[in-house]
Subunit: 332 residues, 2 copies
């Protein structure tokens, strides 16, 4: 059987992760990268064609892909690229602005349905695997709620969104934000209390900030602590460090998380389910999940399905390279 | 929308759990119990009709069920009841003899396909949720293996199969077997070593045995330790206790387990996923999962699907009572 031909659309951290992940999936191959800035990407490697993303006709004709994995950002890239591209080819993306997923789903569903393509949206580990585990937790333990925690290890989990938010403050030269789960909050959930948390009850935030020369430390600390949504609701610790200290301490993109639901079965017997993940590289984790979804999307397209889908709409067997016989014999 | 009408077929521990679980799912209702021994079951409750399982025409006509949840045992009941019943009505079962699942799937698929029914087989927590997590672990971390461990807590997990095996030994009046995971084995997997284990490397077995009067303790201990498959491959501890001690120590059906897969992403970044469950009552846990699958099976049947399916063939959204809009807005 011929390999699934994948185009990587966008070459940032996730795009690099997708190229690496595809090498571990022998039933798939990367046939090229498309980018808004192909000259920049061409400096990174020479073994694959790199074409301008906007020339869709050209790269569809040249690369004959089965699917495009969209690796752009959720804020500015995907809301534009997503509907435009899924009108031309099957797509997968990791759109992760949770509150706007229903709206993004509508746009993608309209474009993919009318053009006859499959568009799997908002996958990775959260949204993605965690969404799946939240649904399973609630379905198998009715009446309980599934909670998500992030940054359970000592170092916490690196949040790119919060790091970016820190860097928008005038006087901040560079910054990283680590999220920490509150252990007592996890224990409350594990005990089956199904508590009504405020966001600040579940997580704390730790910032490592490099100042520009002459910046006002106190004013910046105040700006961080009062930033609505990002930091104001949380207990926030701020460390001012040098660029060298930041580089030494904050290498890589580690992140981790937990979905947990607890309640009772029958006449009050305790019941608890937990899904835990730990990633040395957050963007590579997202990339691995995207690639498995690309396999699923191509299968769905070959079955004549069309429109937008999420991980909640896809049977697990579609993610696996194993045959039905192998799944029944070795995985059940 | 009218409720899903469920018949419970078989009234043992799992059947009792299904009745309890259905009360927590407002979109479903139990319309009756069918049993090989309805007189025995009628002594347990009066609020529901109880009919002889063999009179299929009669209970289909009287109860008008959408689906039957088959709660019989995997050894003798389901291989006979399953194909007979899924030829008449949609079914769910927890057939858990892992090595015979492919064969059972074939039989159920033939009967359900030709009669136009949906038969979801082999669900619960293992096979069931754990099967799903094994497939997801392997799909998202290609090259890693997903391992299952049981009995991680101090008390271990009560294995009904092994308890039954102990009770077949002449001179044994009563017995319980607790499975314990080997912590060092879990740590090996967590470190990403993907080790090649023998069964005895992963678990140990602890037996609580009540002897009949005059039974030969040493002969029975020897019979346990050398029992092929069940105990011979494992480090096995045996406690001889009185019936009172057994009853006091071994109340309920607690069990728990872990699916874990670990490897790397990209250029060697560590990656680990784990699914952990802890159940105060093993049969009630199975029952909760069966009930969510009954919802899924009825939906599939209403879409015109037919044949045998496993949890690997069913999208997560089908298990949930929530609408697509609610799933997109609250669970993604």
């Amino acid at each position: 059987m011929s390999k699934i031909r994948v185009v990587v659309a966008g070459y940032g951290n996730v795009g690099r992760g997708v190229l690496a992940a595809l090498k571990n999936n022998p039933d798939m191959e990367c046939v090229g990268v498309v980018s808004r800035n192909p000259e920049r990407v061409k400096r990174s490697f020479t073994e694959l064609p790199v074409l301008p993303m906007a020339d869709v006709d050209a790269w569809l004709a040249a690369l004959k892909p089965d699917i495009a994995i969209l690796c752009g950002g959720s804020k500015d890239d995907l809301p534009v690229q997503g509907p435009a591209l899924c009108a031309r080819i099957n797509t997968i993306d990791s759109f992760d602005n949770h509150s706007r997923i229903p709206e993004y789903f509508q746009a993608m569903n309209a474009a993919a349905s009318s053009s006859g393509h499959v568009a799997v949206i908002s996958t990775g580990w959260d949204p993605g695997i965690f969404s799946l585990e939240r649904v399973l937790g609630n379905a198998f333990l009715p009446g309980s709620r599934a909670y998500g925690f992030y940054g359970l290890g000592e170092a916490g989990g690196l949040s790119m969104g919060h790091s970016d938010a820190l860097r928008t403050i005038p006087g901040v030269k560079d910054a990283r934000q680590y999220t920490h789960a509150v252990p007592e909050a996890i224990e409350k959930v594990r005990r089956g209390e199904n508590p009504a948390f405020q966001p600040g009850d579940m997580h704390t935030r730790e910032c490592f900030v490099v100042l520009e020369e002459g910046a006002d430390k106190d004013r910046i600390a105040e700006a961080i602590r009062t930033m609505p949504g990002y930091f104001a609701p949380y207990r926030t610790t701020i460390h001012f460090v040098t660029q060298e200290e930041l580089n030494a301490k904050c290498a890589g993109f580690p992140h981790d998380g937990l979905v947990v639901a607890a309640g009772t079965t029958g006449k009050g017997n305790s019941a608890r389910v937990e899904y835990r993940c730990q990633w040395g590289s957050n963007p590579e984790a997202t990339a691995n999940v995207l690639v498995a979804h690309a396999r699923a999307a191509v299968r769905m397209a070959r079955e004549g399905r069309k429109g937008a889908f999420t991980i909640l709409d896809i049977p697990a067997s579609y993610f696996s390279p194993a045959s039905r016989e192998e799944l029944l014999a070795k995985f059940m």
